[in-house]
Amino acid sequence: MLHSLQLLLPALIPSWRFFDVISPSPRIEFILLKSVQDAGDQWHQLRPNPARLSFTTMLHRLLWNPDWNESLFLVSCAERMIENPTKDTEQEILDRIKFDLKKNGSQVRKINYLQFRLVFISRDRDGLRKEILFTSAIHPCAEDAVS
């Protein structure tokens, strides 16, 4: 409870430094593996943005936007994994990848293992630079973790 009170303090005395600097931006990528030894190279971006959105979809999202808000939470988790990595945060990301796979009817049952990595995008002189700052251990795809 003391820890929760510490987390509450920035809400009671906020800093309000919105977008003061534009930091490197994380993307979560994952790979599905058949075995621990499987050396796959097909990394998928978790929840890539749609190419475009219709006017009605955007209007609807003013009231109902759970997936996007969850994606923003995952951005926070990815940033936290670099600043202050914990097993809980890693598990949070992992659980949501599994939940997504299950929700989207992926062939997760045929896949035994899962790994994710955090790719940070920033501006370079000539364009954009991508850096892999974290690669998780290989985790089994047990479905009980996504309840």
């Binding site: 987390l7 906020p14 994380p26 749609p50 003013l62 109902w64 808000n69 951005v75």
Partner: protein, 228 residues
Amino acid sequence: MNLEFAVRLTEIMLGFAFLQQSLEHIASPRKEQILFFPRVVLSFLLIIGFQTPWVCLALVILGLFILHRFQGPYNGGSDRMGLLILCCLCLISFMPNLQWQEYIFGYLALQVMLSYFISGWVKIVNPEWRNGRALKDVFLFSAYPVAESFRKFADYPRLLGLASWGVILFELAFPLTLLTQQTLMVGLGIAAAFHLANAWLFGLNRFFWIWLASYPSILWLQTRIFGQ
């Protein structure tokens, strides 16, 4: 706007904002639903004004569990603003006299004003915001644009430079809008449009609803200080 009406309006608007947020979690993993089903019920009770002090207290306690669950706010600034409004309402409902209630509601209004002014200040001292580069980066590579088509805005540096200065100057000038009720209404209208644009372009819908819930406090403060 008197204190009683402004507080009641804040309770109703916060209740709707919390209800919207909580319903978004209903399709989440089961462990989250346990926290957000009670929040739906409490938000409804807050809207109808049933046992408000105890409902606020229960929402604060539930808020601590939610903070613990996500190891911080789920959606950054919008959750923090929600908790700030909630804690102020909770304290007001347990305060013994009007003077202390006014101090607390005034603190909330001050924070709303600072939420704009400080955001403007941290931008104007940053050369990348002044030359439009920061906003270009937001569109170019940040995680925020809700569709890839919006990244094309990065190709319009002059437009982004103008937009950056527009946001910076508005945020810095916001405290001046308190001088009269008319200027404040215009200021809050522009601020709401700004949050709506952020919701539209960056999917920050929770910011829009929660900041609206804080506006009665600043409307009350303007009346309390300037009496017009």
